[in-house]
């Protein structure tokens, strides 16, 4: 700031108002003073005090004639009398009065007087009314001229000078030798001629060394050029020059010196006196350093400062203050009133008031003021100030700081915003949040959820209740809520938090399950608890449902004897259900590792299963699905199991877990084996039966044929030759045997279906044509009309299908309506997995109640005389359709006709 002050002073414009008149006055190079009309000295120039050898403090405020009394040793001096007369003229004429040279001896500090002659000019300073306000008294020392006039005086003077000279020389020598300053006389050739002892002391060189080297060689290289420059100026006759440079000492250090040098052109000598200012330089440097640091600190803290010297009306601003105000420090001069421009009107008023108060009663101030930054933005500042009292007790200076707190206020706003946000979160939380404080652990706050959850009217009611009023007397474990709560509170206070399930009670007495999280909170040394209560009624119910379904699942697994397991693929560790443990015959302490698992598998199966698992399940990622044998561990029984399972993969598609189910299928296997045995037996029995049917029908056929043959012979030979009865009897025998033969034939056909059956491609169109050709006679005889659409080409048993077509058509012919021309319609349609055939006629139809009986063997619906038949035809049809994995059924209306439908599967 000192640096700043210098800069600022240099920038004072030549504007009369801003000149420091006092300073100008006091430092004017001519002795004068100002007097009140009563001759009291009110101001005096430095020059006056110098020539009169007085001090300002001693003379200002005192009467001139008291300060300068008559010389008691020279009462002839009439100077004071003349001076008083001159003052009288000034006061009377209100114009200047120039006095002749006056002898006015000056009293020296030691009390002696020195002879002086003065030319005095006195002039008045008038006020607005033209009255004399001050008297201006100016002196010109004319002692030498006046003494020259007086011969006696001249001799006196010469002697006195002589005396003085030799006396002074001694004094100079003394001063030269004992000065703490360095004194030196050098010649213009650049060599030292005389150096004082201090010079040698400080620099440490011998006199010889100093003499033999050009003195420039002792100067710091950086300063050498300017030193030479100064010497040049001195040679040219410049008056005394002050300068600063560095000299190297004997031990190589450099010291700073402040020199005053002049020269005598006539003798060609240079004279210089130097003072070691190294320490000052150092402290200046460190001051500069600390100033910089302060500046930096101000910058960091956004604090600018200013000082206002009220008396001098001098203001110094720190750089940061300029920065805050957004003003270029080089383009503006600081002034207390400049502040008015950088504050808003309102803020400036506040500041002015505060400053005035500080000036009047020294009250420091601190204000939050709005500053208008140069860019137009409003900056929030914290402005502080205090006064510094002068010796009179008045405030002479004001010191102030301005801190830009815009950012801070913004941060505060943000903080406020986030507080609102948190509050909103707090209030809108689904959980009830409340605080409890010691020592009685009463609720001290609660969010709206808490109020709602406990059915309180408002927060006030909520916090007015005792916490125990929100819990039933006892918890489900039959412990008292109070005891339990104390335990949990202690735990939370000790460990920072506690989380537990709790049954709470609403204000209407209804209880509900909840989870409670108690968290210890410490805010400014005050410890209390925050409780987060969550109503878990819904999740409890869900939990119960889950538990229920889990129990159900376990029960189901138990019932169907299905064991389940989960195996970690990497570690090989597995867990198993109780059912599986039972299937394996192991206890819960069994070694559930890969080895443990392997030990359970029957040795014959171990390699197979291991292989299968590695190649198929892991290798191809297929499902595990295999039946294998195990050794039940508790009784070493060999058991069959069926295992199914699948791998669960992680995000990288690596198998991590195998989940599976295992069922003991030993009994099933046994049953299966039995079944295979039984079905083999059955097949054998069937084959035997068929063989029997064939052989027996063949054998039955023979005697029948014989009967029929000979009955026929008789009939032919003796028809009409015996009585009518025997003709009839023979006819009955022939009919019966024919019928018997048909029966046996059909029965044999039926038994033969399914033996050595082969499936080939069958074109049903060709097949139908073949059938129609074979049935040509009966079709013609019945005058039947057969209409058919395009039929499919399918895979089937050709002779079976032929028989099927044949039977259905012959049925239609057989059961035709005698009163209508027979029409048979044959159609087929392709479905997803099968072909659907329909054989429709306009015959006599079938009553619905017989539909089911129709396909049963030997079921006849009509009398044998009118509709001869064996009752096997449709049974054969059904058997053929069944072989083709199809179905056969009928839709019919009595006297209107029947439609026989059947399907033939595509996958035979």
């Amino acid at each position: 700031m000192i640096a700043d002050a210098k800069v600022k002073q240099n920038t004072i414009p030549a504007d009369g108002e801003q000149l420091d008149y006092r300073h100008l006055f006091e430092s004017a190079p001519c002795p004068f003073l100002f007097l009140l009309p009563n001759f009291t000295i009110i101001a005096v120039s430095d020059s006056y005090t110098d020539v009169t050898i007085t001090k300002r403090g001693e003379i200002v405020g005192r009467n001139l004639f008291q300060v300068f009394p008559s010389n008691p040793n020279n009462p002839s001096g009439n100077g004071l009398k003349n001076l008083a007369a001159s003052f009288g003229n000034v006061l009377k004429n209100k114009s200047a009065d120039i006095m002749d040279a006056q002898k006015y001896d000056i009293r020296k500090p030691d009390g002696t007087f020195e002879v002086r002659y003065w030319k005095v000019i006195n002039s008045p300073v008038l006020d607005d009314k033209g009255e004399v306000k001050y008297i201006f008294n100016k002196l010109e020392d004319v002692t030498e001229q006046e003494l020259g006039k007086d011969k006696n005086g001249a001799l006196e003077l010469a002697a006195s000078i002589q005396n003085k000279m030799s006396e002074q020389l001694l004094q100079y020598k003394y001063f030269f030798d004992n000065s703490i300053d360095l004194a030196v006389i050098a010649n213009i050739e650049g060599y030292f001629e005389i150096t004082n002892p201090q010079f040698i002391n400080v620099l440490g060189y011998s006199e010889k060394e100093l003499r033999e080297n050009k003195f420039v060689s002792f100067i710091h290289p950086d300063d050498a050029a300017s030193a030479l420059n100064i010497i040049e100026k001195l040679k040219e006759g410049a008056a005394s020059i002050n300068f600063v440079n560095r000299f190297r000492t004997k031990n190589g250090n450099y010291l700073w010196f402040e020199w005053t040098a002049n020269s005598n052109k006539v003798v060609g000598k240079l004279y210089a006196v130097g003072r070691d200012i190294t320490d000052r330089k150092k402290s200046e440097a460190s001051l500069l350093e600390s100033e910089k640091m302060l500046e930096e600190a101000e910058h960091l803290a956004h604090i600018g400062s200013w000082v206002w010297d009220i008396k001098k009306d001098e203001t110094i601003w720190s750089e940061e203050l300029y920065a805050i105000a957004g003003i270029d420090s080089k383009l503006s001069s600081p002034n207390y009133f400049n502040l008015s421009a950088i504050y808003t009107e309102e803020s400036w008023k506040l500041l002015e008031q505060a400053v005035n108060k500080t000036i009047s009663d020294a009250t420091p101030y601190e204000l939050q003021l709005e500053m208008v930054h140069k860019d137009g933005q409003i900056r929030n500042t914290n402005t502080k100030g205090f006064g510094i009292k002068g010796s009179t007790g008045q405030i002479v200076r004001l010191f102030g700081t301005v801190q830009d707190i815009t950012e801070r206020m913004r941060a505060e706003e943000k903080l406020h915003e986030s507080e609102i946000r948190f509050r909103t979160l707090y209030e809108s939380s689904f959980d009830a949040i409340m605080t409890l404080e010691p020592p009685f652990w009463k609720f001290t706050s609660g969010n709206s959820t808490a109020v709602k959850m406990f059915l309180a009217k408002d927060v006030k009611e909520f916090t007015s209740k005792d916490p125990w009023q929100f819990s039933p007397e006892k918890q489900p474990d039959d412990k008292f809520s109070v005891d339990m709560a104390k335990y949990e509170i202690d735990r939370a206070m000790k460990h920072g938090s506690s989380f537990f399930e709790w049954v709470h009670m609403r204000m209407n007495g209804e209880t509900f399950p909840a989870t409670v999280l108690l968290t210890r909170v410490e805010i400014s040394g005050r410890k209390f608890l925050q409780a987060t209560v969550r109503d878990i009624t819904a999740s409890k119910k869900a939990e119960e449902r889950l538990l229920e379904s889990e129990r159900f699942l376990i029960e189901v697994q138990r019932i169907v004897n299905l064991g389940t397991y989960s195996m970690d693929i990497i570690s090989g560790k597995w867990t198993s259900s109780e059912v599986l443990d039972n299937i394996f015959g192991i206890g819960s302490d069994y070694d559930k590792s890969v080895e443990g698992w392997s030990a359970i598998i029957n040795p014959e199966w171990r390699e197979i299963i291991t292989d299968y698992f590695a190649k198929e399940v892991i290798g191809r990622k297929t499902k595990f699905d295999k039946e294998y044998k195990i050794i039940r561990q508790n009784d070493n029984a060999e058991r069959w199991v069926h295992g199914i399972g699948s791998l669960k993969f992680n995000a990288e598609n690596q198998p991590i877990t195998m989940l599976g189910a295992i069922r003991d299928i030993t009994e099933t296997k046994k049953t299966e084996a039995d079944l295979i045995l039984k079905s083999e037996e059955l097949a054998r029995a069937n084959a035997e039966l068929e063989q029997f049917a064939y052989v027996s029908s063949h054998d039955l056929q023979e005697p029948l044929r014989t009967i029929s043959n000979f009955a026929g012979l008789l009939e032919g030979k003796y028809a009409g030759k015996s009585d009518g009865n025997s003709d009839q009897y023979l006819k009955l025998i022939v009919n019966a045997t024919t019928r018997m033969q048909n029966l046996i034939r059909d029965l044999l056909d039926l038994s033969r279906i399914g033996r050595n059956i082969t499936f080939t491609k069958v074109d049903c169109n060709e097949l139908l044509v073949e059938v129609i050709a074979e049935m040509d006679a009966s079709i013609k005889e019945s005058n039947a009309k057969i209409i058919y659409s395009i039929l499919p080409i399918l895979t089937g048993n050709k002779s079976g299908l032929k028989q099927l077509f044949l039977n259905l058509i012959s049925n239609s012919i057989k059961f035709r309506n005698k009163n209508a021309a027979l029409e048979i319609g044959i159609n087929a349609a392709e479905k997803n997995n099968e072909y659907l055939f329909a054989f429709k006629d306009n015959g006599i139809g079938i009553e619905e109640k017989y539909f089911n009986k129709l396909f049963v063997i030997f079921q006849r619906l009509n009398n044998a005389a009118e509709y001869p038949g064996t009752g096997i035809g449709l049974a054969i049809c059904k058997k053929i359709v069944t072989q083709h994995k199809g179905k056969i059924w009928v839709e019919s209306k009595l006297n209107e006709g029947s439609t026989f439908y059947f399907t033939i599967s595509k996958k035979i």
């Binding site: 005697p703 014989t706 043959n709």
Partner: protein, 145 residues
């Protein structure tokens, strides 16, 4: 139409043999009707018929009606043995297998023997007999039909 010489019936069912003799007699198509009751006897008969001076007691058959199911040597077994016989004995002999038309398998099996001329269902009728004679012995008549 000239009569053929002999028809040999090979059937274990005596009733059938009697009936067929009546029918064949009635049809009046051959000079001799002989009947044997199994394959073995039929073979013996054929061998004997090849011997000289047996024309009366074992006339050489032109048609052999062969039943399938017979005790001792059945029809198929007979056919196996018949194949082995001297060609002289077999020349110009028709073998007609008689079936009860109940078992198609038998037909298929019989067809594997080239010696079998055709199948006919029991009982033989006069009409069928006439047709058979015409067909195999007097094809010129058959063509007219």
């Amino acid at each position: 139409m000239k009569k053929i010489n002999c028809i040999l019936l090979v059937d274990d069912n005596n009733a059938d043999n009697v009936y067929h003799k009546i029918i064949i007699t009635e049809a009046d198509v051959c000079n001799y009707i002989r009947a044997v009751t199994n394959g073995r006897e039929a073979l013996d008969y054929i061998i004997k018929s090849g011997e000289p001076n047996q024309t009366e007691s074992f006339p050489k058959p032109d048609i052999i009606y062969l039943d399938i199911n017979m005790p001792g040597m059945n029809g198929f077994e007979f056919l196996e043995e018949y194949k082995k016989l001297d060609e002289k004995l077999k020349s110009k002999v028709l073998i007609i297998m008689l079936t009860t038309s109940l078992n198609p398998d038998d037909r298929e099996r019989a067809l594997t023997f080239k010696e079998v001329t055709e199948f006919q269902n029991k009982p033989i009728t006069v009409e069928i007999l006439h047709e058979t004679i015409k067909k195999y012995f007097y094809p010129e008549y058959a063509a007219v039909m």
